[in-house]
Subunit: 252 residues, 2 copies
DNA sequence: CGCGACCTTGAGTAGGCTCAATGCCGGTGG
DNA sequence: CCACCGGCATTGAGCCTACTCAAGGTCGCG
């Protein structure tokens, strides 16, 4: 069983991309859509747990998540891990590598994924011929910087309880944006407590105890590597507000 | 005495910009230089301690630091502060606001500064007419994301001693890149221990004690709101390596 | 049935926090 | 000229949040 597997041919033409139906993505002009179609070179399927990028390597590829989840992280020489953020459908992966050459972080699939593949040369062509789309790329870079800012604020200045509440809210909101919720508040994100700990700069044990408090508070429910938000207001109160609005954003 | 003061007319024409002499910045083509000249609308002088941007406001401006230092930060409602990064000469400030509308962070001058001023419309014109420069803008955005990644790794996973060592090294390296050093290792950065604490997610008292250890180790010297690196290797050892290489980068 | 991945809980420790006081220095106003 | 004040660095004491070590439970899978 291969970790990474190139699917036979292109599966979903951009014209029919299911993500385009979501209202948080700004619509393409027909011309842009045509260009993006040529920009896309194919699709890849990736198994949960497989690496998409490894720190220190340079990759010729650029992906957009079609389905599934991943996370970006960095390691210290002795194995300590810091998760930087999560990649959800519609997110661009690998811009750093494409623009700057070498990756300074790793990316790993959290669930089985399907990714659209672009190549670097295409990105350059995009900048040369489509000012609107290049602006979009920059917009996306700025947005992910914003999310990092938030995350840094959390890790640096919030208590463990605040961090947990904030992260779960943030993840649930983002998942909802791209239609990853089953019912109103049930979010199925295949995440372990170890991931949460490594995201928030906490130890596994302490994360477990802190989530325990949220569970006893009936703010969330935790079930086999996924969670459900029971009391959003309570969580928001603990988190101290501060969530990103759902802005309409560009795709691809 | 006004905090912010618009200097009379343009002072330094881009052709003579002192930053362009530094070897870490990639040279412009004559055509790009001409365009950038029209993109720049003037200069502003700002006093140490003055705000450049406030979270939640939207600004029509975009700056490049000509001289002086600033820092980006976010506040929690109860006043806890997290410093996100430092802005040095050649850095772009305000891209988030220009691209996304509203600022999600504040920026404050650390020393007296001079800034080049651009406006949003100019940025759009840049994307429409200069693919190379728009790529540069994206490159800069990717680079600042990389620095945030590093910072997040530090705050989330390193000990207080490692964090301090890493930050001081990082600041000294960046300062050296843009010629802000007097002698080989003497870095004059007008920073207080409170700034360091807020950057690293530590308390002031603990930061003071940790710096004390570095001082007793003869790794650094601390003097009136500035520091000097005495033993770079020792510091790097404590920090656990991991510094960004000095890549040639675009300017403006 | 055994093993591995994940969650849970207990016990003891320590790194980092808060409160509090002191010293130093430069600026300001009487 | 001096007293005062505010910003910054420093140090002590005690506490608490979060960490480490360790053991045990559950579940799914080969």
């Amino acid at each position: 069983m291969a970790d990474k597997k190139v699917l036979p041919g292109r599966q979903v033409p951009c014209q029919l991309c299911p993500l385009r139906k979501l209202k948080i993505f700004r619509p393409f002009t027909p011309e842009e859509l045509a260009f993006v179609s040529t920009f896309k070179t194919g699709e890849v399927g990736v198994k949960a747990g497989a690496p998409l990028f490894l720190e220190g390597t340079s990759s010729a590829h650029l992906y957009t998540v079609l389905s599934g989840l991943a996370f970006r992280y960095k390691l210290l020489p002795d194995g300590r891990r810091q998760i930087l953020n999560y990649c959800m459908p519609g997110d661009f992966i690998g811009l750093q590598g494409s623009v700057m050459g070498e990756m300074q972080h790793s990316v790993e699939a959290l669930s089985d994924m399907v990714l659209c593949v672009f190549n670097r040369e295409g990105l350059w062509r995009l900048f040369e011929t489509h000012a609107g789309l290049s602006f979009d790329v920059t917009w996306l870079a700025a947005r992910s910087e914003q999310m990092l800012d938030q995350q840094l604020l959390s890790v640096g200045r919030r208590s463990a309880l605040e961090r947990c509440a904030h992260l779960l809210l943030h993840l649930a909101d983002r998942a909802a944006e791209v239609g990853l919720t089953r019912s109103r508040h049930t979010t199925r994100i295949p995440i372990t407590q170890q991931h949460i700990a490594d995201t928030l700069g906490l130890s596994l044990v302490h994360t477990n105890r802190t989530l325990g408090r949220l569970i006893r508070d009936r703010a969330i429910r935790w079930r086999e590597q996924e969670f459900e938000i029971l009391n959003r207001d309570r969580l928001a109160e603990l988190a101290g507000e501060e969530t990103l609005p759902n802005i309409v954003r560009p795709l691809l």
